[in-house]
Amino acid sequence: MRDADPDVQQMLAFCAGDDSAFASLFERWGRPLLHYLQRIVGDAATAEELVQEAFLRVHRARDRYRPDAKFSTWLYRIGTNLALNELRRPRRSRPHDSADEVGDEDRAPLHLVASGPAADRQLDVRRRTSRVEAALEDIPERQRMAIWLSAVEGMSYAEVAVALETTEKSVKSLVHRARVALADRMAKVGEDGIAGTGGSAN
């Protein structure tokens, strides 16, 4: 199964001396990893540094790489550890601490240039995106990692367990708690938003 993973094959090719295979792996996984890390550390510049560091470690591993897992699982494990180390450092000001980066629903109507059902739908999507972004920052980092890897990256619980260095049972619980917490927060923000809108209208 792992041997059938095309990314593992690329990694093995890189280990055998094919440098273009390393570039292909970066091309394939650099951006998804960046997205994941940015959601975890909350800062684009830091996330880019971590992506660099993760791929540097992949590069360093060329002489001792063993395909024990899918390449992406291994890569996300490296990225997760780097992100956790970053989060353990003394807190720096991160862009997502500022209102500019956090979803601001009040700004959404400013971008609305059309009206009618299509515009309503666009507004709904924007609001939901803002809510889930805000809610995501609000839940514990391990839950954030687990739900992201499961829901967005489509990893199985077993793969998430490898990436987070924990058990499948723990992953099942983390993913579920994250999903419930996000659903409840999104619903609450939605209700508050409706209540706030009604209040301001009156």
Partner: protein, 225 residues
């Protein structure tokens, strides 16, 4: 775990495709006949949908080039036989030790004195702890003195109330910075050199150079205060 929690966890597992076929079928049947359960499943599925709709950040166009540069640096470091600390630290320490030994051998005023002779606070310290640098420990109150000796700006000091011989901390102007201050500064620098960053190494060399310059000045020029 309550029955509700357990049921919700099964909904999560259903979304994640982590149930067996039989478990999934049974749960879907339950969802069909239970409006509240259906509503909850939709809310939980909505989370995944919202997460997947988040826009991926744009990546700096030069990120791969920067990565390649780091890889090249990494390879360069690996080929270097020894890291910079491996040779620079012992070299700096050797220079410092030689200069310090040379300076200590010279008389600094009309009468030869030692640090302990001129510093009453240090007289209580056994000589064995004062002279050998590696085991020397600065009393807490001397730390400020070291800071005075290592900064360019004069530091405000409080006049000592009691009639005691001038303490190391009582240097009021840079010109009055006596030999004991400098010695303490050097000791401090050697301590930090062992444990901290290259910057201390540079500070130490600067301190030693300043010391040499001072010794080369005519004797009268040091007694301006």
């Amino acid at each position: 775990m309550s029955e509700r929690d357990e049921r919700e966890e099964r909904l999560s597992a259903l979304i994640d495709g982590e149930l067996t076929e039989d478990e999934a079928r049974a749960l879907r049947d339950a969802v069909e006949s239970d409006a509240a359960l259906r509503e909850r499943l939709e809310a939980l599925e909505g989370v995944d949908e919202a997460l997947r709709s988040l826009e991926a950040p744009s990546m700096s166009s030069d990120l791969y080039e920067r990565l390649e540069a780091r890889i090249a640096r990494d390879a360069g470091d690996a080929e270097t036989p020894a890291s910079s600390w491996d040779w620079r630290l012992p070299l700096a320490a050797a220079i410092a030790a030689a200069l310090l030994a040379g300076w200590l051998a010279l008389p600094t005023s009309d009468e030869e004195t030692t640090v302990a002779d001129r510093s009453p606070e240090l007289q209580t310290t056994p000589e064995s702890e004062v002279v050998p640098i590696p085991t020397f420990e600065l009393p807490e109150e001397d730390t400020a003195v070291v800071e005075v000796a290592t900064t360019d700006e004069p530091v405000e000091t409080v006049e000592p109330v009691q009639e005691t011989p001038p303490q190391v901390a009582a240097s009021e102007t840079p010109d009055a910075e006596d030999a004991s201050d400098v010695e303490l500064a050097i000791v401090f620098e050697l301590e930090t050199l062992r444990d901290f960053e290259v910057i201390e190494e540079l500070d130490l060399l600067e301190a030693l150079l300043a010391l040499e310059e001072r010794d080369q000045q005519p004797p009268g020029s040091q007694e301006t205060s």
